[in-house]
Symmetry: C2
Subunit: 336 residues, 2 copies
């Protein structure tokens, strides 16, 4: 019988010590982590520091293109990236339901370790709690990230300016669609892979290059493109007008959402960024993104205006214009 995680693994004694060594330290080989102290110590130069936290509760914990481990590392790396910060260190904290397979936990940690290498970030501290059967659903992960921010970089959701253009780094809704399919409740089979990926290696060079011309970067995760743009429109007190014909969507995502009556604009993405920048820079930004696999389908999808501050609207193929409300956000719980 496959080994399962028991309450003893969360008790702090021998069983916990074994789990930490065999499952976590074997993957996350950071020397500070391996010291087993109450906190990790990092050398830090002067300057600004960015910090972000996220808990992940996605169900099922694995899906086409990734799992909760890759999602946790990429999600936190991306939140730092959106501020223009270089991801340096991650902490990881697990809440595990008694009975979760140890082999599954190993897969999740391997996936975290691999994604951390891909992003060039170190996992420096961790924690594990085990709760009884029925007190959690499988596995939840918190990742908190610390990044280094050069003094001259100042991206923020309140910096979109009238005349700016709105770009997206690729197709929307892939992650939401892939998780929906993985739930297996739809009676649909389709080839759709989550876009979950760390974006720091393609986006930070752009920030370095077009520093003062890129005003906002944000990843449209929970709530998708529509909710994230609503947040930015409110923060910056501007309107945003999208052109539906320019928004890249995979036919598989289009198909699933039509079948289910969902709007892909509200589906979560986990490897995409919205970039809002001065219009004269847009062609160059798109050209550079297009050279990268993670930015191959980057596109200009809208413009920032002054009228109706806080409002996001979209012009459809037929030329009609409708408001994209903030709404109730992601209608699908536990997508990330």
């Amino acid at each position: 019988m496959a080994a399962k995680i028991g309450l003893a693994e969360g008790g702090g004694g021998e069983a916990t010590a074994r789990l930490i060594k065999e499952v976590f330290w074997s993957q996350f080989k950071n020397p500070e982590l391996l010291k087993g102290n109450d906190a990790a110590v990092l050398d830090w130069g002067p300057g600004k520091l960015a910090v972000t936290t996220d808990s992940f509760v996605v169900t099922p914990w694995q899906f086409s293109g990734g799992d909760i481990g890759r999602l946790a590392v990429a999600g936190t790396v991306n939140d730092l990236t959106m501020m223009g910060a270089e991801p340096k260190a991650l902490t990881v904290s697990f809440i595990i339901e008694e009975g979760f397979e140890e082999d599954s936990l190993k897969q999740v940690t391997r996936s975290m370790a691999e994604t951390a290498v891909e992003a060039g970030v170190s996992i420096v501290a961790g924690d594990t709690k085990v709760v009884g059967r029925g007190a959690a659903d499988g596995i939840f992960i918190n990742t908190t990230g610390i990044g280094q921010l050069r003094a001259e970089i100042d991206l923020s959701g309140d910096k979109a300016q009238p005349g700016d253009v709105v770009m997206i780094t690729g197709t929307i809704g892939d992650h939401g669609g892939a998780v929906l399919l993985a739930r297996g409740e739809l009676g649909i089979s389709a080839q759709l892979v989550s876009d979950v990926a760390p974006l720091n290696r393609i986006l930070l060079p752009l920030v370095g290059n077009f520093n003062n011309g890129i005003h906002v970067m944000r990843d449209p995760t929970r709530g998708g493109l529509a909710v994230t743009l609503n947040e930015i429109a409110r923060q910056s007190k501007v309107s945003i007008r999208l052109d539906e014909t320019q928004i890249p969507i995979l036919p598989e995502v289009q198909g699933i959402t039509e079948l289910l009556g969902l709007d892909p604009l509200y589906l979560a993405n986990e490897g995409k960024a919205i970039i809002i920048a001065r219009p004269e820079l847009a062609p160059d930004i798109i050209e550079r993104l297009s050279r990268e696999k993670l930015g191959a389908k980057a596109a200009i999808i809208g413009v920032v205006g002054l009228e109706n501050p806080g409002l996001v609207s979209i012009r459809s193929q037929s030329g009609g214009e409708r408001i994209l409300p903030m709404g109730s956000g992601e209608l699908l719980p536990r997508i990330c």
Copy 2:
């Protein structure tokens, strides 16, 4: 009917925006948090940085002397303190079960805000997830802390040296006992209050004062004094001998543990620290601690030796000596 948290509050849309403003921002008033960006930005001086993470799953979520919110802030502040680091910034992340009372959430956040003020630390970033009924048990909180560490401070679990003395800052087992009582399954009523408290204000001045003479500080949380000392004995490759007559225990804790056949040495503490230091400093350390409410019952409880590296033993009142094994740790799940 009292308002309850629903799945919409975790969806990222209007309901989430309301919850964040009304419940979280109203308590955690940090300007970086209120910007609502993907990561908080902090100015940071040169030097070392300490980082620690912990998830809290205590049940019930409130108990005599505190609640999960106070526990989360104090626990993370204390982990930074144990490394000699000044707690600067905390991130908080909630996983909430659908149906949890909004008033309870408000109590928890108020308690976090008050404890953060007590410790002088800022809550700079956060996240909220809501999962369906039965997918979590009420509320889980992750707190991750960042502290600033002066270059000359170098505390670590592997620095205990033969000849050092072992001190504890007060009575043991109070938190474990209080949570046990709060579960109401024991048929016992007793006056016992959790010791949960941030210790940075009493311990960091000691570290500054006795810098090179204090070798190890660690808070005996999950697994209690016995497991924490076993960890230190292994990390430092030393033996530790305790004198049972010197270990401060409240009569209420003694009573509860005798009744239940538990060992108070394995019960969790949330406002206590083990301090291991050069013997000549011990009287002065105890004297300084004794002046503080949080250190009033501080005591010298043992010595560090060379024989049997990794072993912890205890001499009882009758003079007999027994080994204190690492064991399976905290026998009571979800104590923190």
